[in-house]
């Protein structure tokens, strides 16, 4: 059974359509890369899946017992404030927000989960440090740890490596792939880098105000669309 199914989704801002006829379905454990040019509607789709933006038409359904509030989200960087005073511990722990339920404060189990996810991301030693003072790569690992606190099943990552140096980028890709393989967490990642996308992902969704391609990464490599985008040289 699919963990996520989209049927003929469309989105609009103030009546102006930005994304149309998106239909795809994803098995649990898949790794989907969403590619497309700037402004093609990638972030909009992610916000739609998170319930932050209501679709203009169509339907989103979750399977495998996934609730829409149990998705781990790593937002596109520009959306966070630069000068916010918060320690790494505080940021990661806030990922447990959806397990509060009727409780008012975090439990021991929540704190333990935050700790474990910090260890997985290799940031357990900088828990007391200020989030804003970290390097870009460390900040993204903190946000990934927070996202992991919020989910056991599905991660949505919006351009998680944009602005990182090559080493931090490689580390981030490896961490995401590790989470996908070892914990069987389904990953949906928006990416600029099509070359890296086809290397790591199992599936590709190519957007350009509508769905241009959906299929396996292997099939995408063979498509005319990919050939045009990859600049002629086959991978």
């Amino acid at each position: 059974m699919a963990i996520l199914t989209c049927e003929d989704l469309s989105f609009a801002y103030e009546g102006r359509s930005v994304l149309e006829s998106v239909s795809f379905s994803l098995e649990a454990g898949s790794y989907l890369c969403v590619v497309g040019e700037n402004g093609s509607g990638k972030s909009t789709l992610i916000k739609g899946l998170l319930g932050l933006k209501a679709p203009d038409g169509g339907k989103i359904s979750f399977g495998e017992g996934l609730k829409s509030t149990e998705i781990g989200y790593l937002p596109q960087q520009t959306q966070l404030q630069r000068d916010f005073p918060a320690s790494v511990n505080e940021v990661v722990l806030s990922g447990c927000l959806n397990s509060l339920g009727r409780r008012l404060h975090y439990s021991k189990a929540d704190r333990l989960r935050a700790r474990e996810n910090m260890e997985r991301m290799g940031i357990e030693d900088i828990g007391e440090e200020s989030y804003q003072a970290l390097s870009g790569g460390q900040q993204q690992r903190v946000l990934l740890a927070r996202a992991l606190c919020a989910t056991k099943k599905l991660l949505l990552l919006d351009e998680p490596v944009t602005g990182l140096d090559p080493i931090a980028t490689g580390e981030m890709y490896n961490l995401i792939k590790l989470v996908n393989l070892c914990d069987n967490i389904t990953v949906i990642m928006v990416s600029h880098d099509i070359h890296e996308a086809v290397r790591y992902a199992t599936h590709i969704l190519h957007l350009g105000h509508k769905q241009l391609f959906f299929g396996t990464a292997a099939a995408y490599k063979e498509s005319d669309l990919a050939r045009r985008f990859l600049g002629g040289n086959r991978i």
Binding site: L50, G51, L80, P85, A86, S94, L97, N98
Partner: protein, 269 residues
Amino acid sequence: MTEIINMLSYHFMQRALIVGVLVSLCAALLGVSLVLKRYSMIGDGLSHVGFGALAIASALNLAPLAVAVPTVIVAAVLLLRLSRNSRVKGDAAIAIISSSALAIGVISVSLTTGMNTEVSSYMFGSILSLSRSDAVLSVLLSAAVLLLFVLFYPRIFAVTFDENFSRATGTRTGVYNTLLAVLTAVTVVLGMRMMGALLISSLIIFPALSAMRLCRSFKAVILSAAIISVLCFLAGVMASYFLETPTGASIVVANLLVFAILSLAGKRT
């Protein structure tokens, strides 16, 4: 020392100190969230609405707090809506509402009682203006503000830090934004009696800014803002008692000094 004991022997002083400490605490806690969410101007707008409400209440001979608290709460929710609506410029909306409220207040004052000491205490604050029933109500309301803040602390942090993430994981962020606005409204009205409409917003903004110079984690910023706010309040009250300066202005100057010192110290290191 004896002079301080002497000062504390006045009933009105005891009342003012208790209410003042509680309101300073509320203002500091809320201030951190408001400053970080870029809502600092809302405090300023609300103080003018509060002045208008108090002036009308005094013109109609109604209980001041009973009129001002609900009016300012409604204004707070309205301002929050307006500042999130992309179509109206948020700061322009606040300016319109606050100057209109001020104008209505001034007109109703000039048509009825004229500029008396009561009205001037709304403008510039007066530690003497607190009646016994006002003081009881103030203590209850500020205790409620503190309690709600502590109870919902994890959610307030999450909504302040990253509203989208909180909303995506099922938190009704609108509820917590409204809660912040309502708590701010109550704090502004209570603080106005002592600080005055013109100065209350600095009670909200200054401790938060000072604490952000000092600390790097949210909890530490909240705690030090609370401590700075209470200490500056006490310093301001002392100064106003011994030097006979206006209370509200003295508290603002104490806050300004702390902020200046921390800013300079921060530049050094």
